[in-house]
Symmetry: C2
């Protein structure tokens, strides 16, 4: 057998630091996560740290593995985007591992947390569509059955914004999909469109849903934005190469750098109470809204 | 400071194995690499191994870092898609690190190598366009200046296929771009289209180039595939959610699993001569060809 030189073992034993940070999320095939991982790696390298990416597949088992890496000394701390646990459950799992929780799960008093301002973002997106004269605004892309907290926050805020404009809530315009990708969004919207509902705008839960939406509309010769305006969420890189380019809710601040800063402080011994930081949004305008 | 428990150090020292495999490539923001990393992680987990992803940014420095990880014992071996070095240079860099080289760089007699059959793939793609009656076939998306070997192989095979059909080579139909993304492809093609060349098909170097191509054509109201047929390369997940869906050159076999198998054999002590494995292609047909 080839001989490995286990200097890393010696280095970890000597310094107590791996200079590697864990970053865990569901699936690299979702462009939002791949792009976030890239940003996080770039930010970490400025601090002399590498990033160990773990795909949890959105499963509880995958999410537990991340903390095993910290306990074994492979990583000094973890940033994680969990789908199966709230902040309190993560607080129980992590032991003494420096941890920053990402995303919209219910926060904990014990774990640092960076989230996006989903509620004002969804309201802004609806307001934008309303200001364009749209009155039949659909929401597309939440899960069937139990909602992730991200979906729940965005959907609930969409409803509140409609109500604030005295628009009726129409359950037929809340269109769930069976899988996270673009194809299930296309299928779900297609089934609704074929019943010819009154609909002049769609707020999508994420850009993959918006990509499926654009295709469902295009294959039915429904012009975007003339007949139906579309807003995505995440502002992934490819959104500006679609036709039409996608109007999308974007982070106005660097989420990766913010989370990294909190994590490094914990690794360096900061013992204060949990910080909950909110990243502001902006609406990145493209051709899919007029 | 929080106390890390450096059991990983102890574990590596005891067994000489990290059960972590390095996977290095240029940039996670390119969907082809993010999807390949996902497949590689899935395959590795079946062998009880994790994958440590490194983005080299296509720089020589980034490419050297990968072997430092192996020397320090962080990873047991590496699979790498290099852009700056050929196989002989990698052979010199790697020392005793078990290594599998991915992609089209000049192979070495010393390093295991998995590549795609680029030459027959490009010929097949051109033949497909020819069989549809297309006679003015462009190639789009290679680098300006020095070509990567991937681009060089695909472009040269495209030329050979044209010549085999007794079609003239037209330098105006070899359209390079300034950056790897979709936007530079859109810009490059747009500049050519605005001179109204005779062109009825485009073979793209990769799917990002094809996405930019579809947008350049759509914004000029040039119908795909009626006026210009388009073939991409890589068959990324989103290719089937574009409008039109993309015809694209795809791997017909699991490149990640093949590379993993070769690497695990080396980690387990296989000392034989370098293996050079070629992954077969197929043309994944979509709506962008008739």
């Amino acid at each position: 057998m080839r001989e490995n030189k286990p200097n890393n073992g010696a280095r970890v034993l000597a310094t107590g630091r791996a200079h590697v940070l864990g970053f865990a999320f569901a699936d690299l095939r979702r462009p939002y996560f791949a792009e976030l991982a890239h940003e996080f790696s770039q930010a970490a390298s400025k601090h002399g740290c590498r990033v160990f990416i773990t795909e949890t597949e959105g499963t509880a088992k995958g999410e537990e593995e991340v903390f095993a890496d910290a306990r074994s000394g492979l990583v000094d701390g973890v940033i994680l985007h969990f789908e199966n646990r709230n902040g309190a459950e993560v607080a129980a799992l992590r032991g003494t591992t420096p941890t920053v929780f990402l995303g919209e799960a219910e926060p904990s008093a014990e774990v640092d947390h960076v989230s996006m301002d989903n509620v004002p973002a969804a309201v802004d997106a609806v307001n934008h569509l309303y200001s364009l004269g749209r009155r039949h605004i659909a929401f597309l892309g939440h899960e069937q059955g139990i909602l992730t907290r991200t979906s729940a926050l965005r959907l609930e805020s969409y409803r509140q914004a409609l109500t604030a404009h005295e628009l009726p809530l129409d359950p037929r315009l809340e269109i769930s999909r069976s899988e996270p990708g673009s194809i299930s969004a296309e299928t779900a919207l297609g089934a609704v469109l074929d019943r010819e509902p009154a609909m002049d705008a769609i707020l999508c839960r994420d850009d993959l849903a918006a990509i499926g939406t654009l295709r469902a509309l295009r294959t039915r010769n429904i012009p975007v934005p003339e007949s139906i305006a579309v807003i995505g969420w995440d502002s992934i890189g490819l959104a500006s190469s679609l036709t039409p380019t996608l109007t999308s809710v974007a982070e106005a601040e660097n989420l990766a750098a913010t989370a990294l800063e909190l994590l490094l402080e914990r690794i360096n011994g900061h013992e204060g109470p949990a910080r909950h930081t909110t990243i502001r949004h902006h609406i990145n305008k493209g051709e899919s809204t007029p």
